[in-house]
Amino acid sequence: MKPLGIIFVFLVIFLYLPLAVVVIFAFNDGSGLSWPLQGLSLRWFALIFADESFSLALLNSIKSALIVSVLSVLIALAAAMLFARHRNLATRTLSGLALLPAMMPPILIAIALFTAMAYFRVAPGFGMIVLGQLVVTLPFVLTVVGAQLERFDLDLEAASRDLGAHQVQTLRRITFPIILPTLVGSALLAFAFAFDELLITNFTSGTTPTLPLYVFSKLRRGIDPSVNAVATLLIAAPWLAVLLAMPFIMARRTTDKNRRVWSQ
């Protein structure tokens, strides 16, 4: 076998073998984590969906991840527009500072947030979960969206203006459709990061449970096969999200759907 093939096989084994074990045991009827398997069963899924604290944690995770992904894309878009179109010392400094949290150990961010919350007497809870996760996702989303806007040919906007479109029309018909796949892609990235963020959320959540916290607390009470069912859901969720977003990401070319809309 060629070296590249060997590397490929190792990569697949390292990345996917542990995941495969988790998924297999999630559907295993037995209550222990040992071979041989004891038949197909959905009992662990039934168990966790019957658990109210699981549903609550799942709901919280989905809610916070959705809010975080939308917020980080909006903030990153505004910031990247500013950075790409007004280059000066201030924006360059700001863009550097905005990327810094990605290089800091998350535990530092967690401790800093926790201390700040205590100092300003802000109660932990859902709002702080969102804020903490934003700190994690923003630098990544900003990097992706920023790179797209750097590449963006400003002559396209000039051409649109030149052809009679005012600024808002230009944004809606030219700029936005061209950068949409990037926005959707980075929103997905932010969703995935936020959905299973544990370290910082652990410090900012107070009594509000999220899915990773739920798994973590379950594990502390000893291995329980239902954790495998939760993990399987956690693995499936981002894949599902990517699948749903596929049409947007692939649609680098769309026809001018706005053509008719602007006729009035």
């Binding site: 000039a158 649109s160 070319r253 602007w262």
Partner: protein, 363 residues
């Protein structure tokens, strides 16, 4: 080739006046007190080396850049502060700037769909787009995307996208620079054909003197944010007004000379110990001169005589109907046109007529 200003009485509106336009970027001046009039129907070129301010002037005309001083009038109306979407001027961008997410049809149609009031019906738009695309032979490419077009095709789409609004002035920003040589030739002819067909005023920005000379009715030669000369291609080539113009047009070689007198509107100058007369470009009080000597003004003779200088052939280029050789003489290089196939290294005598070229003050 169109060298004289043709009569184009068909178009009456769309006279553009540029009055005292200045623009500074950070510390550098991009444009200094530019004054120009572009008559309707003309093929006008802004010619100059890169960084001379010609593209800035184009962007100011389009409304994409605001001048620091000066005004732009369209048929006497001040449009200096109109936003780009309200000016009846359209641009063909250097790198085309076709909308990558729209088909060729929708790219061309774009300029007709932006009007909120008086937007034409879809049928009218489609009809116009088809007519425009057929003018450049691209009806078949309607459903294609810009990424699927060749450079020449993209250029044609960019051209008709700008023309679909029937602008008073079409601004072309180095439209041929990104094209292969062959395609460039076709495109040049196509531009002239379309210009003749539509009688729209064309303003071409270019750094290529051949391009400007072969297509324009009038050329404004620019250097360092200023206009050096505005004239017809023939005038600008035959009698460049400044030393820069003479050098940029690449019309001939330059010979250092010193002023020794004037007679009958001509300059008398000494090249070494040889006396020649030359046209005066306005040298004023300068005594050190540069004479523009054209390749066809000097003849190569068999035997040297007092009004000649000896030299040695350095290079020879074949131009079909004639050769052009560069001859090294004791003060530099001269380009000379000849019908003889001289060999490199051959010793020759260069005979000077009594009157040669144009005299410029040496900088």
């Amino acid at each position: 080739m169109k060298n004289s200003v043709p009569v184009k009485a068909r178009r009456t509106g769309g006279r553009v006046e540029i009055l005292g336009i200045s623009k500074r970027f950070k510390s550098a001046s991009a444009l200094v007190d530019i004054n120009l009039v572009i008559e309707p129907g003309m093929f006008f070129s802004l010619l100059g080396p890169s960084g001379c301010g010609k593209t800035t002037l184009l962007r100011i005309l389009a409304g994409l850049e605001m001048p620091d001083e000066g005004r732009i009038l369209l048929d006497g109306r001040d449009i200096t502060h109109e936003p780009p979407e309200r000016r009846p001027f359209n641009i063909v961008f250097q790198r085309y700037a076709l909308f990558p997410h729209l088909t060729v049809h929708d790219n061309v149609a774009y300029g007709l769909t932006t009007e909120r009031r008086n937007r034409p019906s879809d049928a009218v738009i489609d009809h116009n787009v088809d007519a425009m695309l057929s003018m450049v032979g691209l009806e078949w490419a309607k459903a294609r995307y810009p990424g699927e077009l060749s450079g020449g095709q993209a250029q044609r789409v960019a051209l008709v996208r700008a023309l679909v609004r029937k602008p008073d002035l079409l601004l072309l920003d180095e439209p041929l620079s990104a094209l292969d040589r062959n395609v460039r030739h076709q495109m040049r002819e196509e531009l002239l054909r379309i210009h003749a067909e539509l009688t729209t005023t064309f303003l071409l920005v270019t750094h290529d003197q051949d391009e400007a000379l072969s297509m324009s009715d009038q050329i404004a030669l620019m250097n360092m944010g200023k206009i050096e000369q505005v004239a017809s291609p023939a005038t600008i080539y035959r009698s460049p007004a400044t030393l820069f113009a003479a050098r940029f047009m690449g019309a001939g070689s330059f010979v250092r000379a010193s002023l020794c007198g004037r007679s009958g509107g001509r300059i008398e100058a000494m090249i070494g110990d040889m006396k020649v007369r030359a046209l005066d470009s306005g040298v004023g009080k300068a005594t050190r001169l540069q004479l523009l000597v054209r390749p066809e003004e000097i003849t190569i003779v068999e035997a040297c005589h007092p009004h000649s200088m000896s030299g040695q052939v350095e290079t020879r280029s074949f131009f079909g109907s004639h050769y052009e050789v560069t001859v090294r003489y004791d003060k530099g290089l001269l380009r000379v046109r000849t019908s003889r196939a001289l060999d490199t290294g051959e010793a020759v005598c260069l005979a000077w007529p009594d009157e040669v070229g144009i005299a410029y003050a040496d900088e």
